[in-house]
């Protein structure tokens, strides 16, 4: 333990200085001391971590606080400020000009959006519930219309990329120095594997074709296995990110808050 704290910062949590900082403001105009804010953040972090042991009243408190703050922020910071105010209210009512800024015209037709939105509240009415389908239908319709373009942009290039040449034009092993357009034997084999994987995995996702043929069944099973290879690779890379984030939190708690170790 002593060894572990050998590199602790001079004002770590076991010293008077740390506790003094908790109530000392750095600037006279500040309301809360920085160390106090860190402490609050750290306590909340520990509160969420307590879920790992089991659900408890501390976690429940932090959870409800979290949801309250998050939803409050959605109302102000995500919906009111950038959307309703900037994109709806300001264009709708405009603004009178001053000496420096031009007048903004009031585009009054935006006002019709409000009643359309309010229609959604009829969802609670048994008699006029269908009126809520109109705003919801508009949103869904707009989404549906975008999908054609999205399919073209997103999937067709991938399809084109899956169709790879598989006859080598240079019968050697690959090297970084090959000029562009060279297709060596290993490249050709890799291209074949890419295509085969694509087709085999896709065959697993056929639902309506007769599954009697042996070839088809085997291809579907192989497709599932290849999918598992893909999923395993995702698992591997994702784990690294997630652990890094936890280590960063540990750094925050131990070094930035409690100052129990060296900074760098």
């Amino acid at each position: 333990m002593i060894d572990l704290l050998a590199q602790a910062q001079p004002d770590n949590v076991f010293t008077r200085a740390w506790w003094d900082a908790l109530v000392t403001r750095e600037e006279s105009w500040q309301i809360l001391p920085t160390a106090f804010k860190f402490t609050v953040a750290a306590i909340l972090t520990v509160g969420l971590y307590s879920l790992l042991y089991r659900e408890n009243r501390f976690y429940r408190f932090v959870e409800h606080l979290f949801i309250g703050l998050a939803t409050g922020f959605s109302v102000v910071g995500i919906v009111w400020e950038p959307v309703l105010h900037q994109k709806w209210w300001v264009p709708m009512v405009g603004a009178a000009g001053t000496d420096e800024t031009a007048m903004k015209l009031a585009y009054w037709p935006w006002a019709v959006v409000l009643p359309i939105g309010v229609l959604a509240f009829f969802v609670f009415s048994k008699k006029h519930g269908w009126l809520s389908r109109i705003p919801i239908g508009i949103i869904l319709g707009l989404w549906a219309g975008q999908q054609f373009n999205a399919f073209q942009n997103r999937y067709l290039p991938q399809l084109a990329d899956s169709a790879r040449p598989f006859i080598p034009n240079q019968f050697t092993l690959s090297s970084r120095l090959d000029p562009s357009g060279t297709l060596t034997v290993p490249d050709a084999i890799n291209n074949l594997i890419v295509m085969a994987t694509f087709i085999v995995v896709l065959s697993y996702f056929l639902y309506s074709f007769e599954q009697q043929s042996k070839l088809f069944q085997r291809s579907a099973i192989a497709g599932r296995w290849l999918l598992m290879v893909g999923f395993g690779a995702i698992f591997g890379t994702t784990m690294m990110t997630r652990f890094s984030l936890f280590i960063d939190r540990a750094y925050f708690l131990l070094i930035e808050w409690l100052k129990l170790g060296p900074i760098a």
């Binding site: 969420l48 879920l51 089991r54 659900e55 976690y59 429940r60 959870e63 979290f66 949801i67 998050a70 939803t71 922020f73 959605s74 995500i78 959604a120 969802v123 609670f124 519930g129 809520s132 705003p135 919801i136 869904l140 989404w143 549906a144 999908q147 054609f148 399919f151 073209q152 067709l156 399809l159 084109a160 990329d161 899956s162 169709a163 790879r164 040449p165 598989f166 006859i167 034009n169 562009s180 357009g181 060279t182 297709l183 490249d187 295509m195 694509f198 087709i199 896709l202 996702f205 056929l206 639902y207 309506s208 074709f209 599954q211 599932r224 999918l227 999923f231 995702i234 698992f235 994702t238």
Partner: protein, 291 residues
């Protein structure tokens, strides 16, 4: 910018083959919807996870604990509508067993749709008085606040079965692992395939990829849904054919490299493997103007 360059860009992006491909897919789907509507029998293969829904709901009834449904983190779009459609058949089973439900939402609009559809299910089963409006809830529309809220509900109410369907992101494993802690039976399906491995690791049954879209056809057996599933199947077959033909064509074309100046014109970096593609089969076809 010169108009000439612009037209090149234009043609690259707006070739007729791409439009034709999408129109073909649309035609397949519509034709099969009509065909299935005429009562042509369509069989689809078994989807393992979906057979377990009744069992999971039944077990929840035995232990007297609620089932939990989460339609993912999507805003109101086709994915969440699909999720709620699947949930409506799960809720129907739950109503028959008399199992309490929890449906937790991330988006205000999704909440509205879910509220109405769940109420309709209770109504059509003839027990509208059993419907508790608070069982369908909005939690929060910030990702991790939502995850914290769902984890809290799972742990406090010790849900007996969970159904995670829709678009899930990093929070998937927080929810699924918490449900695992309380010993719930879990069925999951997500359109964000990056999260599928985490569901595989934590859940009992996972629908892979577009089994999620097949699920409502599988459960409901409606002609419209079955038909569009078959249409999508046809499209997949055509795509496979296309890849095979294009690959053969590419192979022969790749035997002669593309001249360097032509490559430069197309704006591709030197030393790229993918750079020659617009010169190849697919590119030639898509470069053709629509006019």
């Amino acid at each position: 910018m010169e108009l000439q360059d612009y037209w090149l860009q234009y043609k690259l992006e707006w070739g007729w083959v791409e439009y034709g491909t999408i129109l073909l897919v649309v035609a397949f789907i519509l034709y099969n919807i009509v065909r299935a509507g005429r009562g042509k029998g369509v069989t689809i293969r078994r989807i393992p996870g979906l057979d377990q829904i009744d069992e999971a709901v039944g077990r929840a009834t035995e232990v007297g604990r609620p089932i939990l449904m989460v339609p993912g983190l999507g805003v109101l779009d086709g994915i969440t509508v699909q999720a709620i459609t699947i949930f409506s058949s799960i809720v129907r089973t739950a109503v028959r067993f008399g199992t309490p439900i929890r449906l937790l939402n991330y988006d205000g609009a999704v909440y509205a749709v879910a509220q109405e559809i769940v109420r309709d299910v209770y109504l059509s089963e003839g027990v509208p008085e059993q419907f508790d409006p608070d069982s369908v809830r909005f939690v929060s529309d910030r990702q991790f606040a939502f995850a914290a809220g769902v984890a809290g509900v799972i742990q406090r109410e010790k849900v007996a079965a969970t159904f995670f369907m829709g678009a899930f992101y990093a929070e998937s494993i927080i929810m699924a692992e918490n449900a695992n802690m309380v010993g719930a039976i879990q069925v999951a399906a997500t359109t964000q395939f990056i999260q599928t491995p985490f569901f595989i690791a934590t859940c009992d049954y996972v629908l892979l990829g577009d089994e999620f879209y097949a699920a409502s056809a599988y459960l409901g057996r409606q002609p419209v849904l079955l038909g569009s599933l078959v249409g999508a199947d046809w499209a997949k077959m055509v795509f496979v054919m296309f890849v095979l033909i294009a690959a053969i064509a590419h192979s022969f074309e790749a035997r002669t490299p593309v001249p360097a100046d032509e490559r430069q014109d197309l704006g591709f970096a030197d030393g790229q493997i993918y750079k020659d593609r617009p010169q190849l089969f697919f590119g030639k076809m898509t470069k053709a103007s629509r006019f």
